[in-house]
């Protein structure tokens, strides 16, 4: 009987939590589907009386969201692929070789995770300008490596440590060199980890506001997050359009996460739970 009561309470808590978690998303969508006039009605209407997708259409036609979306995608994908590839190589090195100074280097990489972005933005602004990379996508990818590469290395090390060394030996016997062991044995076996790492790097790059606000200035380099952050600071805000923009900005993260969530949650928690 007591167990039943516990289940009822837990189910109630779960319902409340779901409402808390999901309501803002629902409200974004409801607002985005309203006319501006209706969005500004007091009190708010719970459901759009004349649902319209105008806000979304405006984003893609009159405003430049197609371009912003492309910028965000190119930058985030490049960052994700680059940082997880370099991170995986390093993780393999740390995991499989008795490097002198190896633990010092791992500590160094862990510490770099703690450096705040604002410590670096000033020099970036100057150096990228000097290199002609200010206001370019390449410049942003370089900057995002500072956020993504350290944790990608750490995350991948956790996964590669989990691949039994006996398999390395077996592959070696079969004639694989070190690179072959890495690409044919270790990497395929830590694929869930690689997926999780790549997705995490993508989410970090996609969600950034600090670097895109400091390292770009022209309209052709604007990303989705920068676009919506700029809009909300304007004196006059069209809320249905802004909510449509916010949904567009959140959608790729949501879609990728939902598609890969099994590996992602597994990968995210593996390091924390291990040991």
């Amino acid at each position: 009987m007591r167990l039943r009561l516990g289940t009822v309470l837990a189910t109630g808590a779960l319902v409340l939590l779901s409402v808390y978690v999901l309501f803002p998303f629902g409200w974004m969508l409801v607002t985005a589907l309203k006319t501006e006039q209706e969005a500004l009605r007091i009190p708010s209407t719970w459901w759009p009386h004349q649902p319209t997708v105008d806000a979304f259409v405006v984003m893609w036609t009159r405003k430049n969201y197609g371009l912003y979306f492309l910028n965000s995608t190119v930058i985030s994908l490049s960052t994700a692929v680059l940082s997880s590839a370099v991170g995986a190589l390093a993780a393999y090195g740390f995991s499989r070789f008795p490097l002198r100074g190896g633990s010092f280097l791992m500590g160094f990489i862990l510490t770099t995770q703690m450096l705040p972005g604002v410590l670096l933005v000033g020099p970036y602004f100057r150096v990228l300008t000097a290199l002609g990379l200010y206001d370019t996508r390449t410049g942003l990818v370089i900057a995002f490596l500072t956020i993504c590469l350290p944790f990608a290395t750490w995350m991948m090390k956790g996964f590669i440590d989990g691949v039994p060394r006996e398999l390395d030996e077996a592959a070696r016997v079969d004639g694989c060199g070190w690179l072959g062991i890495f690409t044919r044995v270790v990497l395929p076996l830590s694929l869930p980890g690689l997926v999780a790492t790549t997705l995490f790097a993508f989410l970090l790059a996609w969600g950034d506001l600090l670097w895109v606000s400091t390292l770009t200035h022209s309209e052709s380099m604007v990303t989705v997050t920068l676009a919506i952050a700029r809009t909300v600071q304007e004196f006059y805000v069209n809320w249905p359009e802004l909510m449509a923009g916010a949904l567009i900005g959140g959608l790729p993260s949501i879609a990728l996460y939902l598609a890969l969530q099994r590996w992602f949650v597994q990968g995210l928690t593996a390091g924390a739970v291990k040991g």
Binding site: A10, V21, T31, T111, G207, Y257
Partner: protein
């Protein structure tokens, strides 16, 4: 079963070159370390140098100026409140939610997937949607509270000095607790079930089981969640920037938004550098115990 004769004959990679094994390891590690030195260490040192540069040489003038600036201390306090309140709420709500969802309840698998969504979307999106929900005129929260009779007047969530910091924290709690919940949930599942059974046999009630089985079992995961979350919340920028831009006045400024302003609105590069270095020192001091713990495990 590996072929013993072949294994015995094998004495190194079969390509034409022979490199001693550890040396190969350095080759794998080199790109990451090299990149980090170039894209991270070098700029960090540049900031450090800039923060000490005064006309005609080096000096601590910017730090003296910083430490005697009431605004700096105000922002440090605000950052501390923001971080402590956010992380504390993340842990409490995350633990409560994880415990609630750990049991056999309908649709909990679905909930687990969905619950991470606020954490997955850009923090700018979280800031913006809460700014809209908390809008003083058209916001839905005021509608609800008015309808429920809890308030008599619409509240100015983001512009009233006493309320604005609270509102920003509120949005950040929504954004951040799911991560803590998900990793605590994984931690809960790693606690062997027979520990609970043994405790029950010894006559432990629900509270005693929580206190003596669950909490000790979660210790490590809790420390990791606490450390990671603290590091992330000290660095948080987009949510605050999108929600209030640091206002009203400077009441919701945190260190990252303030350094950003000193750089790019006021163009006080040396002063901003000093503030960024101070922020880094604070962050490193807070996270040092965590680094030590992780490194000991390695």
């Amino acid at each position: 079963m590996p072929d013993a004769s072949r294994a015995a004959a094998w004495d190194g990679p079969r390509r034409g070159f022979r490199i001693r094994e550890p040396a190969v390891g350095y080759l794998f590690v080199a790109p990451a370390v090299g990149l980090l030195v170039a894209v991270l260490v070098y700029p960090a040192l540049t900031t450090l140098r800039l923060s000490f540069s005064v006309p005609g040489g080096l000096g601590a003038r910017h730090y003296i100026q910083l430490l005697s600036d009431p605004l700096f201390w105000q922002v440090v306090r605000q950052t501390a409140v923001f971080v402590v309140a956010s992380v504390g709420a993340h842990l409490l709500l995350g633990l409560g939610a994880a415990l609630a969802v750990a049991g056999p309840i309908p649709a909990r698998g679905l909930f687990r997937v969905v619950a991470l969504l606020p954490w997955v979307v850009p923090d700018v999106v979280a800031g913006i949607v809460w700014k809209w929900i908390l809008n003083p005129l058209y916001g839905v929260l005021n509608d609800l509270l008015l309808a429920a009779g809890l308030i008599a007047q619409p509240l100015e969530w983001l512009t009233r000095p006493g309320l604005a910091p609270l509102s920003v924290i509120l949005a950040n709690v929504w954004r951040g607790f799911p991560f803590v919940m998900v990793i605590l949930l994984a931690g809960l599942q790693a606690i062997p079930q027979d520990l609970y059974e043994a405790a029950s046999l010894d006559g432990a009630g629900p509270w005693a089981r929580f206190r003596f089985v669950t909490l000790p079992g979660l210790r490590k995961v809790l420390v990791v969640a606490l450390a990671l979350d603290t590091i992330w919340e000290v660095r948080r920028f987009g949510l605050v920037q999108a929600m209030t831009g640091g206002g009203p006045g400077t009441l919701t400024e945190v260190l990252s938004t303030q350094v950003f302003k000193q750089y790019f609105h006021f163009y006080r590069f040396e002063y901003a550098s000093a503030m960024a270095v101070a922020m880094t020192v604070l962050l490193l001091a807070v996270s040092l115990p965590y680094v030590r713990m992780i490194m000991q495990e390695e």
